[in-house]
């Protein structure tokens, strides 16, 4: 074994059995990699800082489900403050949200399944901004179809705004009354809409049960109907021999004298340090967690952070800044009914248009409002500035009657272009429960994004009018994000301007890969997980094919 520069190697408390691949993070991308590598016969260990969760932990079947969102199932780790969460500090217009545990963000996600546009890979060529990806839509086509199968996606193919795709494995979830009303508005305006694809089973499929429409999807699905890796990937990964260590917070990835990584150092729940040796290290800790870990792994050889000769680790953070237009209608719409994925979506304003004062665009999606507490909270948020009397006292019931069961929301997520100064850093003074520096987030919503959101919100208000809205409630940019974190370890062909190559291997360290959302070159406006998972599958396929030439310590 090579000699590593870090003392860890010599006085490690416990050292695991050498594996071929160690994956850090059991979220969307890490789970894909573990299942695929194990099926191909690799010895795989996955280190995950959080725990297993399942239906017994989810509160969707309890009347208190809405309150769960505030506390145990708050998507904001700073509010949730679980043992596995690390603090996010800093001055950011939008602060990321995430879930840390087996499944990662896919424990709490809304399961909206949205491939990128073909143009998203060629933004520099087509629109003269940001950068092109080193891969194209076609390079992901096969993987998109395979992961959609693994994730039991329910949807309708044939959307003309996207390249041709294989049919989804399950028929679309009914668009419901809210989808119908929204679609009629779009139809009157001649705008694009399409029934939403969701990784929620519209019928029993593989490991998933049929959706029961509880609508509490984002506090975890109590019916096992929403795709999440503990159902879709880990059973097969583990039966093929993959080992998943939970409560394992990776602190550092040490490097040997030849500049190869040799595994991962982690701290268990009791604070005991371990070393997990491996020939290949795959980072799948999401665009915040991976950047943090690379920065934590600075050494004399990589003084600015592991794999950071480009200086781009942590930079170009993208988050899809988000605004909402809640549409209130006269007719009852049963809008507490789930699933809380996307009933319909629109790509009408997703592409650059020469007549607009911004570049690129936004995706819209229709969602229900959850239970009465959420519906009323939405009203109060929109009317708070009118003072106490507008939302409390005599007006409380009037507001509730107006919105509850009569409204739906157009969520509008903007493509934020990568900015050098939007980034993840190590916090110098705040630490997590293992004593590691917190992730400090610096993020500004750009002028381009603000104009894009203003334009799209104005169009959504127009669409609401055509849907027969009696009123609309518009929210400004959400200060907490929507769980989309991208871009902090971008891929590219040039080692000076990217962190990993087109196969998501570090330019600097030949046995280090990054496979999470950090590798996105630009963010598109699509919900990112379909692409994160498809890309992870593409990369791992390639790694398997080229295993004989893989450099190891």
């Amino acid at each position: 074994m090579a000699i590593f520069s870090k003392v860890y190697y010599f006085n490690m408390v416990t050292q695991g059995h050498q594996s071929e691949v160690v994956i850090i993070g059991a979220g969307a991308s890490g789970s894909v990699a573990a299942a695929r590598l194990a099926a191909a016969g690799f010895e795989v260990v996955c280190l995950e800082q959080g725990d297993w969760v399942g239906p017994a932990d989810y509160m969707g079947a309890q009347p208190e489900a809405e309150l769960a969102w505030i506390e145990r199932w708050n998507p904001d780790p700073n509010a949730r403050r679980g043992m596995a969460d690390y603090p996010l500090t800093g001055d950011a217009d939008v602060r990321p949200v995430m879930y840390n545990g087996v499944g990662g963000g896919l424990v709490q996600w809304a399961a909206m399944w949205q491939p990128l546009l073909a143009s998203d890979f060629r933004v520099r060529t087509l629109d003269g901004v940001a950068d092109d990806w080193p891969i194209s839509w076609g390079d992901l086509a096969d993987a998109y179809a395979r992961v959609a199968g693994d994730m039991s996606v329910s949807g309708l193919g044939g959307d003309p705004a996207l390249p041709e795709m294989n049919p989804y494995p399950n028929p679309p979830i009914p668009i419901g009354k809210i989808g119908r009303v929204a679609a009629e508005g779009m139809d009157r305006l001649g705008w694009h809409w399409w029934p939403g694809a969701n990784a929620i089973a519209s019928r029993r499929h593989r490991s998933l049960q049929a959706c029961q429409r509880r609508g509490t999807c984002m506090t975890g699905c109590p019916e096992n109907a929403k795709a999440t890796p503990s159902l879709t990937h880990w059973p097969s990964a583990q039966s093929a021999g993959a080992r998943l260590v939970t409560g394992a917070r990776v602190m550092e990835i040490p490097v040997d004298k030849r500049g190869r990584v040799g595994g991962a150092v982690y701290r268990d729940r009791d604070g005991v340090e371990h070393f997990q040796p491996a020939q290949v290290v795959m980072l799948a800790a999401n665009a915040v967690g991976t950047a943090r870990l690379l920065l934590l792994s600075a050494s004399s050889r990589f003084p600015d952070g592991l794999a950071n000769s480009s200086g781009l680790v942590g930079r170009r953070l993208m988050q899809h800044p988000y605004r909402t237009v809640t549409v209130v209608c006269e007719d009852p719409l049963d809008s507490w009914q789930g699933p809380w994925g996307q009933n319909i979506y629109s790509l009408e304003f997703a592409e650059t248009h020469p007549d607009r004062d911004f570049i690129r665009g936004a995706k819209w999606m229709v969602m229900p409002h959850g239970g009465p507490m959420f519906a009323v909270a939405e009203y109060q948020e929109a009317h708070r500035h009118e003072g106490f009397e507008a939302v409390w006292g005599a007006n409380f019931h009037r507001a509730a009657a107006e919105v509850f069961g009569h409204s739906f929301t157009w969520g509008i997520q903007a493509e934020d272009l990568p900015e050098y100064d939007n980034r993840v850093l190590l916090d110098p003074s705040v630490h997590d429960s293992s004593g590691l520096p917190a992730a400090r987030i610096e993020y500004r919503v750009s002028e381009n994004t603000r104009r894009m959101l203003d334009f799209n919100v104005a169009r959504a208000v127009e669409a609401a009018g055509e849907s027969g809205a009696v009123t609309t409630m518009v929210r400004d940019v959400w200060p907490t994000g929507i769980g989309h974190v991208l871009g902090t370890t971008r891929m590219g062909n040039d080692p000076e301007s990217s962190v990993v190559d087109r196969w998501c291997r570090s330019h600097d360290v030949p046995n280090l890969y990054v496979i999470d959302g950090g590798v996105f070159v630009t963010g598109g406006s699509a919900n990112p997980t379909a692409t994160i998972m498809a890309n992870a599958l593409r990369v791992v396929d390639h790694m398997i094919e080229t295993r004989v030439s893989q450099e190891v310590p």
Binding site: R203, R213, M373
Partner: protein, 139 residues
């Protein structure tokens, strides 16, 4: 602190505040009528335990008189405390079975999907096809 549930005095204070926020009206009962300060409060705090301490501290701080003015000032001057109070009251109110029945809300109940062989929106979708220019070609 130390106590695991609100004292009768704290419940009484909460009840008075709750009825200012959610009074009787439009055929709906006031917060206290459905027991917002009773076991619905306990259920809410069990689901959101981080509210327990700030809520009880706030309730101990409420003056005996001038509650209307106090709540209005709280909203403006101590928004975090107001959020704890108002969220607890609204959450507890909508946990009430009576309230749920009155607003026609069955809860987030299971309600199996029925997937139609042929969705009823195909006519609308046909028109999306007809007018869409197709995606920007750049594979």
């Amino acid at each position: 602190m130390g106590s695991s549930e609100p004292t009768p005095a704290q419940r009484l204070t909460l009840a008075r505040l709750a009825d200012i926020l959610v009074p009787e009206g439009l055929g709906m009962p006031a917060a206290t009528t459905v027991g917002v300060a009773g076991d619905l409060l306990d259920r809410s705090l069990a689901a959101a335990p981080s509210f327990f301490e700030p809520l009880l501290a706030l309730l101990d701080d409420v003056p005996d008189d001038g509650l209307d003015a106090f709540v209005r000032r709280l909203e403006v001057e101590r928004p975090d405390d107001f959020a704890v109070l108002s969220t607890t009251v609204v959450a507890a109110y909508y946990l009430s079975e009576d309230v749920r029945e009155l607003i026609g809300y069955p809860g987030q109940q299971p309600n199996p999907l029925s997937v139609a062989a042929e969705p009823d929106y195909l006519d609308l979708l046909e028109r999306v096809y007809e007018r869409h220019p197709g995606y920007r070609e750049c594979l």
